[in-house]
C-alpha cells in the first residue's frame, strides 16, 4: 500500500483507539461497502424514514409547550379573537404554540405536513414492493412489519389529530367512539376503558397524548429499526438486468456514493415539507375554535389516510342493522368501521402467503418482478387500489358534491356501485394491459424494436425497419421468470390410474383452481430466439399466430 492512501495520523489514532476496543474495522468496512441497487422507486421507503425523523424532531419541539389537559381555562393569550372564550388547556396551549412560541406555528405545520407525507410515502413504498413482488421469500416477515407500521401510522395520525381539542379533533374522537361502541358485547367496555367513563370526558386527551408521544412512536421506531436491519441483512431487491441474479446485487456502495445521495435526499424531503408548511396553511385550529359537545360542522374530514374509513362509513347501507333479543347490532357501523379495514389490512398481510401457497414457490427471490410478468398479482393490486380509492373518494363526498354540484345522494349511489364494479374493472383492465405488454416484449425479442424508419421494397411494399435492441433489453426479456405453480406439475392421475389424493379434497382442489387462474393467459417467451422473427417483413408469416404487427 502506498503512503498516499493512508488516512491522516489524527484519524488513524482515533480509528485505532476504537478498533482496539470494539473491533469494528472489519464490520465497518463491510457495511460501508454494502451495495445498494439504483432506482428511484427504491427511494420511496426513504421518504417515509425521513418524514418520520422530521416528525420525531418537530414533535419533541411541540411537547415542550403542549399541555395535554382538559382543565377548562378562559383564554387570555395573544390571539385576540378568542380572548375570553372558555376552552380546554390543550386547546389553549396549542394556541400558545401557534401565536406566542417563536416559530411554533411553522413547526406545528411542519409536523402536520410531514405526517401527511409520511403516510403517503408509506403507501407508495408498499405499492412498489407489492407490484414488484419484493415481498416474496425471504422478505415475508419484513412485509408484515411494513403492514404493521402502516396500521400504526394511521392510528398515530388519528390520535395526533385529536390532541389539540379543536372542532375537528372532537368530531374525530366522536366517530372513534361510535365505531368502538358498535362492537357487540365488548364495545361499551372498550369505550369505557379508553375514555375512563361512560362518556368522553376529561381523561381522553391525557391518554391519547401518552399513546401519541410515547407508546405508538416507540412501537413505530422499533418496527422501523427492525425493518431496516432485516433489509440490511437480506440486502435490497433489484430489477432484472445483466449481471443481476438472485445471488449477486449490482449497485453503488453505501459509502460514499449512496450515503451522499441519501443524505441529500433527506434535505430535499425536509425542504419540501418546510416549503409547504411555510406557504400552505394546514389545519388552522385557531380558526376552527375549541370543541364543545354541541358543536358540529359540515365539510370536515379526517386527514387523508383515514379517508377510506370515513368513506366506507358513509356509503355502507343500514339495511342489515339487526336487534336480536333487543340488543342492537349496528352493522352499518360495524362492517365499514372494522370489517372493511380488517379486510384491507388482513388481505395485505396475507397476500405473500396466499401467493406462495398458490405457486408453491419456495425459492429465495432477490430479483424483483416486472409488474407485467405477474399479471394476476398486478391485477389484484390494481383492484385493491381501486377499492381503496373509491372508499377514499366517498369519504369526501360532501366536498365533491358541493364543488362539482352533484346531488349528494347520487354520489352515495355512484360510490356504492363503484366500490363493487371498480375493482373488477380495474383487475380486468390491469391484467389485459400486462398481457399486452408481455406480447410486446415477445415481439421485441423476436423482431427488435420499431425504429420509425419506413423503407420501400423493390416490390413496392412499405415496411418499417426493426432494429436490434440493447443487450440489456435482450437479457431482461430472455430471463423472464416462468410463471408456474407446483400444483400444475403434479400429475392428476398416477401411473396406476389412481386420482391424485391431493387434488381430490377441498383445499387441494381450490389450490389447483387458483393456480390455473394465476398462470393462465401468461405469454411465454421461452420458445423465442432473439431476432428469429422476420423483422424485414410486414406481412404475418403463415403459421405464426403471435407475430402481430
Amino acid at each position: 500500500m502506498s503512503k498516499t492512501t493512508q488516512a491522516p495520523k489524527a484519524l488513524r489514532g482515533v480509528g485505532n483507539f476504537i478498533d482496539d476496543r470494539f473491533h469494528l474495522a472489519k464490520t465497518g468496512e463491510k457495511n460501508l461497502r454494502k451495495v445498494f441497487p439504483n432506482h428511484w422507486s427504491f427511494m420511496l421507503g426513504e421518504i417515509a424514514l425521513y418524514s418520520f425523523i422530521i416528525l420525531l424532531v418537530s414533535g419533541v419541539f411541540l411537547t415542550l409547550w403542549f399541555k395535554p389537559s382538559m382543565l377548562e381555562v378562559v383564554y387570555d393569550g395573544a390571539y385576540e379573537r378568542l380572548q375570553g372564550v372558555p376552552m380546554s388547556e390543550a386547546y389553549a396551549s396549542t394556541l400558545y404554540i401557534d401565536f406566542e412560541v417563536r416559530g411554533g406555528f411553522l413547526v406545528r405545520q411542519i409536523h402536520h405536513w410531514a405526517a401527511l407525507i409520511f403516510v403517503a410515502s408509506l403507501v407508495v413504498h408498499m405499492l412498489r414492493v407489492f407490484f414488484t413482488g419484493a415481498f416474496r421469500k425471504p422478505r415475508e416477515i419484513n412485509w408484515l412489519i411494513g403492514v404493521a407500521i402502516f396500521g400504526l401510522a394511521m392510528v398515530e395520525g388519528l390520535f395526533g389529530y385529536s390532541l389539540p381539542d379543536d372542532l375537528p379533533s372532537g368530531m374525530g374522537v366522536r366517530i372513534l367512539q361510535g365505531v368502538m361502541l358498535a362492537l357487540p358485547l365488548v364495545g361499551p367496555y372498550i369505550s369505557m376503558f379508553l375514555f375512563g367513563g361512560e362518556f368522553p370526558g376529561e381523561d381522553i386527551i391525557t391518554r391519547l397524548y401518552m399513546l401519541h408521544v410515547l407508546l405508538i412512536p416507540a412501537l413505530l421506531l422499533g418496527l422501523i429499526v427492525a425493518h431496516f436491519m432485516i433489509l440490511w441483512h437480506q440486502k435490497h431487491t433489484q430489477y432484472p438486468g445483466t449481471g443481476r441474479t438472485d445471488k449477486t446485487v449490482v449497485g453503488t456502495p453505501m459509502y460514499p456514493a449512496f450515503a451522499v445521495k441519501a443524505g441529500g435526499f433527506f434535505f430535499f424531503t425536509f425542504a419540501v415539507t418546510a416549503g409547504l408548511s411555510g406557504f400552505v396553511q394546514i389545519n388552522p385550529i385557531h380558526l376552527f375554535g375549541p370543541f364543545t359537545p354541541t358543536s358540529i360542522t359540515s365539510g370536515l374530514q379526517p386527514d387523508w389516510y383515514m379517508g377510506f374509513m370515513e368513506g366506507s362509513l358513509r356509503i355502507f347501507p343500514n339495511w342489515f342493522d339487526i336487534a336480536p333479543f333487543g340488543y342492537a347490532i349496528p352493522t352499518a357501523v360495524l362492517v365499514p368501521g372494522l370489517i372493511v379495514p380488517g379486510l384491507i389490512f388482513g388481505g395485505l398481510a396475507l397476500w405473500p402467503f396466499i401467493e406462495q401457497w398458490i405457486t408453491g414457490d419456495k425459492r429465495a427471490r432477490n430479483v424483483a418482478d416486472r409488474p407485467r410478468n405477474a399479471p394476476v398479482r398486478t391485477g389484484v393490486g390494481v383492484a385493491g387500489i381501486t377499492f381503496y380509492g373509491v372508499l377514499w373518494l366517498a369519504g369526501s363526498n360532501d366536498i365533491l358534491s358541493e364543488t362539482f354540484s352533484i346531488d349528494l345522494y347520487l354520489t352515495t349511489y355512484i360510490f356504492r356501485v363503484l366500490a363493487i364494479v371498480g375493482p373488477i374493472l380495474g383487475y380486468i383492465i390491469a391484467k389485459r394491459i400486462c398481457l399486452g405488454l408481455q406480447r410486446r416484449d415477445r415481439e421485441t425479442l423476436e423482431h427488435g424494436y420499431e425504429s420509425g424508419t419506413i423503407q420501400q421494397l423493390p416490390s413496392g411494399e412499405f415496411i418499417e425497419v426493426h432494429k436490434r435492441s440493447s443487450d440489456e433489453t435482450i437479457h431482461v426479456l430472455e430471463n423472464k421468470p416462468p410463471l408456474t405453480s407446483t400444483a400444475l406439475s403434479e400429475p392428476e392421475v398416477d401411473d396406476k390410474g389412481v386420482e391424485n389424493p391431493k387434488t381430490r379434497k377441498g383445499p387441494g382442489k381450490l389450490r389447483l383452481a387458483l393456480a390455473r387462474w394465476y398462470t393462465k393467459d401468461n405469454v411465454s417467451l421461452d420458445d423465442v430466439e432473439p431476432y428469429s422473427g422476420h423483422h424485414l417483413h410486414h406481412s404475418v408469416p403463415e403459421g405464426e399466430k403471435e407475430a402481430t404487427h
Binding site: L116, I117, T252, K261, F265, Q281, L287, S298, W304, G452
Partner: protein, 303 residues
C-alpha cells in the same frame, strides 16, 4: 405542415401536445362556462324608505309581471310557487336582493346572483307587498347594516363617498358591537355550521340541495335569512335567537371570515382536510419523488 412534420417526433413533442390540449380545454371552458355567480352585495341603503320615495303603483306592476306567474296575483301561491302572504318583507327583501327571485327554474334551488331589478324597483315592490299582500311575517331589519351603497344611485362622488363612509361606520359598529365571542361561536357552531360549514363556506345537503356559502352575505341578509328561513333553512325567529344573540352570531362569522391566514398565503379556500390531503400528495409527495427520480438518474448516467 412541413414544420409540424419535421418536429412531431421531437422528444418534447408529446409534452407540447398535452400542454396545448390542456390550454385549449381550460380556455374553452372558461369561455363557455356560465359566469360565476359572484354577486355584488346589493341591498337597500340602511334607512327605512319614506312613503314619499316609493311608488306603490309601480310596485304592483313589478309584482304582476315578475312574481305573480308563480305566487299568484294575491300572493296566495300556485303549483309552481308557494303562498307568500305570511313570508314577510324580510323574506321578499332577502330573496330579491340576493337575486334568488325571480327564479329562473321554480323546480330547483336558486344560487346567489346579482339582483335583477334596481333598488328603487325593489323598494316599490316591497311597498306594494306590505300594503296589498302581506298578512304577517317578519319585517326588514333596517337597523342591521346591509350592502354598500351603489355609485349609480348618487349624483356626485362626494355624496357617494359620504354614504360609503356612513355605511362602513355602521358595519363596523354592528360587528364590533358584539363582544361575546363564545356566545356567537356556540350559536353559530350549534345552529348554522352543520349546513353552512365552520367558515360559512357552504356545504352539500340532501336531495340535491345545498347550503350556500355566506361570505358575500351582508349582516342584514344573514339576519333576514334567519328570521324568514328561506328554502330548506329552518326559521330562527327573534324569540328563539334574540336580536342581540343574532348580532353576536353574525359578528362571529364575519370576523372569522375576515381573519387573515396565519398559516401561510395559501388557505386552500379553507376547505380543510380534503384539500390538504390533495396538496400533500400532488405537490408534497410528487416533488419528493421527482427528486428521487432526478438523483438516481444522475447516478445512472455516470455508472
Amino acid at each position: 405542415m412541413k414544420w409540424i412534420t419535421a418536429r412531431r417526433r421531437h422528444p418534447l413533442a408529446g409534452y407540447v401536445v398535452v400542454i396545448l390540449a390542456l390550454a385549449l380545454f381550460g380556455v374553452g371552458y372558461a369561455a363557455l362556462a356560465p359566469t360565476a355567480d359572484q354577486a355584488e352585495a346589493q341591498t337597500l341603503a340602511a334607512e327605512v324608505p319614506s312613503p314619499d320615495d316609493v311608488d306603490v303603483a309601480a310596485g304592483e306592476d313589478i309584482f304582476n309581471q315578475t312574481c305573480a306567474s308563480c305566487h299568484n296575483y294575491d300572493g296566495g301561491g300556485s303549483d309552481t310557487g308557494p303562498d307568500i302572504r305570511n313570508s314577510g318583507a324580510a323574506s321578499v327583501n332577502f330573496q330579491v336582493s340576493t337575486g334568488r327571485m325571480p327564479s329562473m327554474d321554480p323546480d330547483s334551488q336558486m344560487p346567489r346572483r346579482p339582483m335583477v331589478m334596481s333598488e328603487q324597483d325593489l323598494a316599490n315592490l316591497i311597498a306594494y307587498y306590505n300594503e296589498e299582500i302581506r298578512e304577517g311575517g317578519p319585517d326588514i331589519p333596517y337597523e342591521v347594516p346591509g350592502g354598500p351603497p351603489q355609485r349609480e344611485n348618487f349624483e356626485d362622488d362626494a355624496s357617494y363617498e359620504a354614504a360609503m363612509e356612513e355605511h362602513e361606520a355602521d358595519f363596523e359598529a354592528y360587528i364590533e358591537g358584539a363582544d361575546d365571542t363564545d356566545m356567537g361561536m356556540k350559536l353559530y357552531l350549534t345552529n348554522c355550521a352543520h349546513c353552512h360549514g365552520w367558515s360559512g363556506g357552504g356545504g352539500a345537503l340532501t336531495d340535491g340541495r345545498w347550503a350556500p356559502e355566506i361570505h358575500d352575505a351582508t349582516p342584514r341578509e344573514i339576519y333576514e335569512a334567519m328570521v324568514s328561513g328561506p328554502g330548506a333553512m329552518p326559521m330562527f325567529s327573534d324569540t328563539v335567537i334574540e336580536p342581540e344573540e343574532k348580532q353576536e352570531l353574525i359578528s362571529y362569522v364575519k370576523k372569522l371570515q375576515a381573519e387573515p391566514n396565519a398559516g401561510g398565503i395559501f388557505d386552500l379556500n379553507r376547505v380543510g382536510q380534503v384539500a390538504e390531503g390533495f396538496i400533500g400528495w400532488v405537490v408534497g409527495l410528487s416533488l419528493i419523488i421527482a427528486c428521487a427520480i432526478w438523483i438516481t438518474a444522475k447516478q445512472r448516467a455516470h455508472d
